[in-house]
């Protein structure tokens, strides 16, 4: 399991290779990449700025990976999160999960990004055509996270 918080862009193919790492047990590899959208509501996004709480952010992401690995049979999982100034269409975050079977890989990957949105100390500022806004936790993200606490769909989980 690996966590990286970095300014520079990431190469999805290289990250996928690192996760596969010749492990012949892997039958399913799921990736989620979050990109900078060029709009926010009615406004045009010119750029975003991401900051984090060094030390705490790495610990939070490792904890999320541990929770996912405890719940699903994941052979490996990885998070890469960028910080600093990013332009529309740039890559923000990458989550990769590898598992024997696809259900665990899908659920683990979605769980990780849902928790990242609500339990990891990152902050996003949007520079838009209508001014500058610090984005706050969205209600929809909290609801997404809470689905996992209710155990909304336990297929694919460890017994």
């Amino acid at each position: 399991m690996n966590v990286s918080i970095q300014q520079q862009d990431f190469d999805i193919a290289a990250e996928l290779s690192a996760v596969r790492n010749g492990n012949g047990k892997i039958g399913a590899l799921v990736s989620f990449a979050g990109l900078v959208r060029d709009f926010s509501g009615d406004a045009t996004i010119q750029s975003i700025y991401l900051e984090h709480y060094p030390g705490m952010s790495e610990r939070a992401l490792h904890k999320i990976l541990e929770q996912a690995t405890a719940r699903w049979e994941l052979l490996d999982a990885r998070i890469v999160h960028r910080v600093g100034q990013l332009l529309p269409s740039e890559q923000i975050v990458l989550v990769i999960t590898a598992a024997m079977h696809r259900k665990a890989a899908f659920a683990g990957c979605e769980f990780i990004i849902d928790y990242l949105k609500t339990a990891a100390p990152f902050w996003k500022k949007e520079q838009t055509s209508q001014g500058v806004v610090w984005v706050e936790t969205r209600d929809s993200d909290v609801q997404q996270m809470q689905r996992w606490q209710r155990g909304h769909d336990q297929s694919g989980e460890k017994i």
Binding site: H81, T118, P121, F122, W123, W134, E136, T137
Partner: protein
């Protein structure tokens, strides 16, 4: 009591401060009391550190405002998180 204070997100940006080493009165025992004491600085501090706009961590763990503070704690104040 000596405490290290960190600021992130909106309050860090609007207050123009990322961190400070504060010598706070010993009678302050919770995050809520510490926040109230910081708001005594007036002006924008009152707005940015309003209880309902602030989230906190003590020693790199998210905490409620009712959490206790101790000497040498690392305390962070920030706006609601928004990563990913």
């Amino acid at each position: 009591m000596h405490i290290q204070l960190l600021y992130f997100g909106r309050p860090a940006d609007h207050l123009g401060i990322a961190q400070e080493h504060a010598d706070v009165p010993d009678h302050l025992t919770t995050l809520a009391e510490l926040l109230a004491w910081l708001r005594l600085r007036g002006g924008i501090w009152q707005q940015e550190l309003a209880d309902h706009r602030i989230r906190c961590a003590v020693n790199q763990e998210f905490c409620e405002l009712t959490a206790a503070i101790s000497p040498d704690d690392e305390i962070a104040f920030f706006s609601p998180i928004s990563g990913g």
